[in-house]
């Protein structure tokens, strides 16, 4: 269910109003940036992904008909992240120096260990990207498990089982590091 305000913003965006675009960015940039940052652990990459996301959202806003806008926007966010991962993998194949460091895009984040959030980030980085994404989709979006499963094109049982596994892993990693 969408709030009246959000409905107005989306209607404005469909009409091409710059003020509506601006409001949409204000509404979602914080939450989605956090989602990207926890996924990649890198501020610059998160900034780029956030820009790309909004450009795609604005380009496709007329295709959004009804249903949950959060679900729609997080589906695009998830696609943007997966495109980024694919691109990264391609680059790694081309450049062998990346091969040994599978999580090379986390490098800059590891210099900020004093930050407590960074500590969590480091543990998040240790679980695989797919599992990490489910955890973050659950905690940064307001999506139900059914919606998350739809975004990921998988049965709800699969989503639950992946989340269960990654939560156990995360808890154990945080427990070990204390």
């Amino acid at each position: 269910m969408m709030s009246r305000d959000l409905e107005k913003i989306i209607a404005g965006c469909k009409k091409g109003q710059n003020s509506a675009y601006s409001e949409l960015v204000d509404c979602y940039s914080q939450k989605i940036y956090a989602y990207f940052y926890r996924l990649t652990g890198n501020r610059d990459i998160s900034n780029d992904l956030l820009s790309e996301l909004f450009l795609k959202v604005i380009k496709n806003i007329k295709k959004f008909k009804d249903g949950s806008f959060d679900s729609w926007i997080y589906k695009i966010a998830s696609n943007v992240f997966h495109d980024f991962l694919r691109e990264k993998q391609k680059q790694r194949k081309i450049n062998s120096e990346y091969a040994e460091n599978a999580e090379s895009f986390y490098l800059d984040s590891q210099h900020e260990k004093a930050d407590m959030g960074q500590h969590l980030q480091n543990q998040l980085n240790k679980i695989d990207a797919e599992e990490r994404e489910i955890v973050l989709l659950r905690f940064y979006s307001d999506l139900s498990f059914k919606e998350i499963a739809e975004i990921r094109n998988e049965p709800i049982g699969t989503t639950l089982s992946k989340l269960h596994r990654s939560l156990k892993k995360l808890r154990s990693l945080i427990g070990q590091s204390k």
Binding site: G16, N18, Y21, S22, V25, D26, S29, Q30, Y33, A34, Y37, R38, R43, S46, N47, L50, S51, F54, L55, I58, D115, M116, G117, L120, V135, R138, F139, D142, L143, S144, F145, K146, E147, I156, G157, L160, S161, L163, H164, L167, K168, L170, R171, I174
Partner: protein, 160 residues
């Protein structure tokens, strides 16, 4: 723990896990939620947000510019076509077939032009046919004459 969209998590988990695993799942979720909410939320800088807005606004301006240009171009084409249609009165052509005899209803404004072209084609076709027949008769006569000459020549040759 968040209760998202009135989702009954316990009921949902019961479908997939036994009591013990359901409870473990819920505890782990509460733990993750606690940890994530306790840490400072990473936020984009004001500069990044403004940059995104600028890019969107710029893209939107370009889009509008092209949309307006396309609309203006279409309008100009329509106006020019309309002016041409109403300015040129249909010419009156003399043809062997009159417009009323034409059965097709697909042509309206261009009927006369179409008849004129059609009639011209038929006129040329008839002329070609006449010419061809005349030519054929002349040719046939020439061949008969040539054959007679050849027979005469042959007879005279053997006669010496």
């Amino acid at each position: 723990m968040k209760n998202i969209n009135d989702e009954n998590l316990k009921e949902l988990l019961k479908k997939f896990y036994d009591e013990e695993h359901s409870m473990e799942f819920i505890h782990n979720m509460e733990f993750a939620e606690k940890i994530l909410s306790a840490t400072r939320e990473p936020a984009p800088s004001r500069e990044v947000i403004e940059n995104i807005k600028r890019r969107i606004s710029k893209g939107n301006s370009y889009k509008r510019y092209w949309e307006l240009s396309a609309a203006a171009a279409i309008l100009i084409i329509i106006t020019l076509s309309a002016v041409n249609i109403f300015r040129d009165e249909p010419a009156h052509y003399q043809g062997t077939i009159t417009a009323t005899q034409w059965e097709s209803s697909n042509f309206s404004i261009d009927d006369n032009e179409f008849f004129a072209i059609n009639n011209s084609i038929e006129d040329v076709s008839e002329q070609m046919l006449t010419l061809s027949e005349e030519n054929n008769n002349e040719l046939a006569n020439s061949i008969v004459e040539l054959e007679t000459d050849m027979i005469d020549l042959e007879n005279n040759f053997w006669k010496g």
